[in-house]
């Protein structure tokens, strides 16, 4: 009698220990998964936190891009002259014509912001090659970017948090940021002194981040690129912009395109050894070799609400073979945050009707 009893006890103890071990294994696996997903890291800079910060600048972002929220679509083509083919095997750099779906925007969080609120204007393009390769690029009219890292971009965005009492951000917050981030000085000087104009058409748009062009021999070259305007700028004092109405940039674009196509030269700048690949606040010296690789021809503009650019994510890391991201830390961060913004606005499409209300449609 004693024998089997003892053995039953042993089996019972063993089973309890085994169940405890199983519980530990499962809890450890679940914990590792949660840790990887950031559940234990409230201070991790996630795409969610980034796009949330972008929407704290005021306005109702639902259904819209969380940054560069106000924009207008365009279509046209990229006419490659073939000069880029020796630098990169990207199919759209071989001489030929490639369709473009693009977007002009101002770098604001509020999709209803007046155009004069956009110190930074942007151009996004999606250049398609027949074999399915795509080159997407989001470019700004500033010569450099305002910060070098995603963390700094988060901080400078939070410095623009809307103060609900004042109805605008606290200017001291931005001053504090700029005082502690000397790398932002070049951008800030541009923002203070660059002339204001009344058009998207007379601006040059810069890739800001560096990329790599890969040629047929496999050689990798560090590059930046610019869409250089062919239109003489019409400079006006800032105070004159208010009289033009809240949507003067869109109206100007439509007026110009009614007269004919608009053109930009796509110019690639080749880095020299030592030029920074990973710091978009630093301009490269002006004497670097440049190659004009073709012309962007913009033919038509469309309201974003039902325009062809609406449902594209202009992720700058969507690149054809022959073009790769550099080690600039802003590029992966842009990719991750743009994806989050795209996922949000696609799910919020009901908040941004495709058929604009009557009053807007008659514009």
């Amino acid at each position: 009698m004693a024998g089997p009893g003892k053995s039953d006890d042993k089996r019972g103890v063993h089973a309890v220990a085994a169940l405890a071990l199983i519980a530990v294994v499962i809890a450890a696996a679940a914990g590792a998964f949660a840790y990887t997903g950031g559940w234990f890291s409230p201070h991790r800079l996630t795409p969610d936190r980034m796009v949330d910060a972008l929407s704290r600048r005021g306005g109702d972002p639902l259904g819209h891009r969380r940054n560069h929220a106000k924009g207008i679509c365009f279509t046209g083509e990229f006419a490659a002259n073939g000069a880029g083919a020796r630098l990169s095997i990207a199919p759209m750099l071989a001489a030929g014509h490639y369709p473009v779906i693009g977007r002009f925007a101002i770098a604001v969080g509020d999709p209803q912001a007046p155009d004069a609120a956009g110190r930074v204007r942007s151009m996004a393009v999606r250049i398609a090659a027949p074999d399915g390769e795509e080159w997407r690029s989001g470019m700004n009219n500033s010569p450099v970017f305002v910060v070098a890292t995603p963390e700094e971009f988060y901080q400078i965005t939070r410095a623009q948090d809307l103060d609900p009492a004042a109805g605008k951000p606290d200017p001291a917050a931005m001053q504090r940021f700029l005082a502690t981030h000397p790398d932002s000085a070049v951008f800030n000087e541009w923002a203070k002194t660059a002339p204001w104009t009344t058009s998207f058409a007379d601006q040059t748009y810069n890739s800001l981040n560096a990329f790599r062009f890969i040629d047929a021999a496999g050689r990798s070259r560090l590059v930046r690129w610019s869409m250089q305007t062919t239109v003489a700028p019409h400079e006006v004092p800032y105070d004159a912009l208010a009289a033009l109405g809240p949507d003067f940039l869109e109206a100007d674009l439509e007026r110009r395109l009614a007269q004919g196509a608009l053109r930009w030269n796509l110019v690639v700048t080749l880095a020299a050894p030592g030029d920074p690949s990973n710091n978009a606040t630093k301009a490269w010296p002006a004497n670097r070799e440049t190659v004009a690789v073709g012309m962007l021809v913009v033919r038509h503009a469309q309201d974003e609400a039902d325009g062809p650019c609406r449902d594209y994510n202009y992720d700058p890391t969507i690149l054809p073979v022959g073009i790769q991201p550099s080690d600039d830390p802003l590029l992966p961060a842009r990719s991750a945050a743009y994806a989050k913004s795209f996922d949000l606005r696609a799910a919020e499409a009901a908040d941004y009707p495709r058929t604009p209300p009557r009053s807007e449609a008659s514009r």
Binding site: I26, D311, P332, S335, A346, A349
Partner: protein
């Protein structure tokens, strides 16, 4: 039966363990990449897409092998609800192995993204470019991933229960490589 010792065939065992490693990697890569702005994001997403398609191909192959070769019977004394749970969870695991990559592929198609496996190797769009469809598929991809992970935890817990508590040979039918 599949093996003289009441085990899954060597091909089935090899596919199981290879895919176990791939799927666990996939789930951790997925949950990690959507929660970071770090440069590793681009590396993770470049792995996630071809790894997902590799899982889809292997899952279809594996389902065919399973339908042809079957599985060793569960112990006769296994309570009915445990046997039913085993059956249901295996159906769910097979379904997720095939559905998850298809939802991911469709989601990218609906989002208007090029579907790059490696360099110039692209997959075709399998659904129209449509943001409403993208929103549904994007949410489904995340929730199915959580369901997948929870189902795998249950699967592991049940396997260890067979190995350590019941000691009935079920665990060995997949885990043992002894001749």
């Amino acid at each position: 039966m599949t093996d003289a010792g009441g085990r899954f065939s060597p091909l089935q065992r090899a596919l199981h363990w290879l895919m176990a490693a791939m799927v666990v990697a996939m789930l951790f890569i997925g949950v990690g990449m959507v929660s970071t702005l770090h440069p590793r994001y681009l590396v993770l997403i470049a792995i996630h897409k071809p790894l997902g398609i590799a899982i889809l191909v292997l899952a279809v192959l594996r389902l065919g092998v399973r339908l042809r070769r079957g599985a060793p019977p569960l112990p006769a004394d296994l309570p009915w609800w445990q046997a039913a749970g085993a059956k249901a969870s295996h159906v769910l695991l097979y379904a997720l192995l095939i559905v998850m990559p298809l939802v991911g592929w469709s989601m990218l198609s609906a989002g208007g993204y090029p579907i790059v496996l490696y360099g110039p190797i692209h997959l075709p769009q399998i659904v129209p470019h449509d943001d409403a469809l993208h929103a549904i598929l994007r949410a489904a991809h995340a929730w199915l991933a959580y369901l997948f992970f929870v189902t795998i935890l249950l699967h592991v817990a049940a396997a260890l229960f067979h190995a350590l508590v019941r000691r009935d040979g079920v665990f060995q039918s997949m885990a043992s490589w002894r001749r």
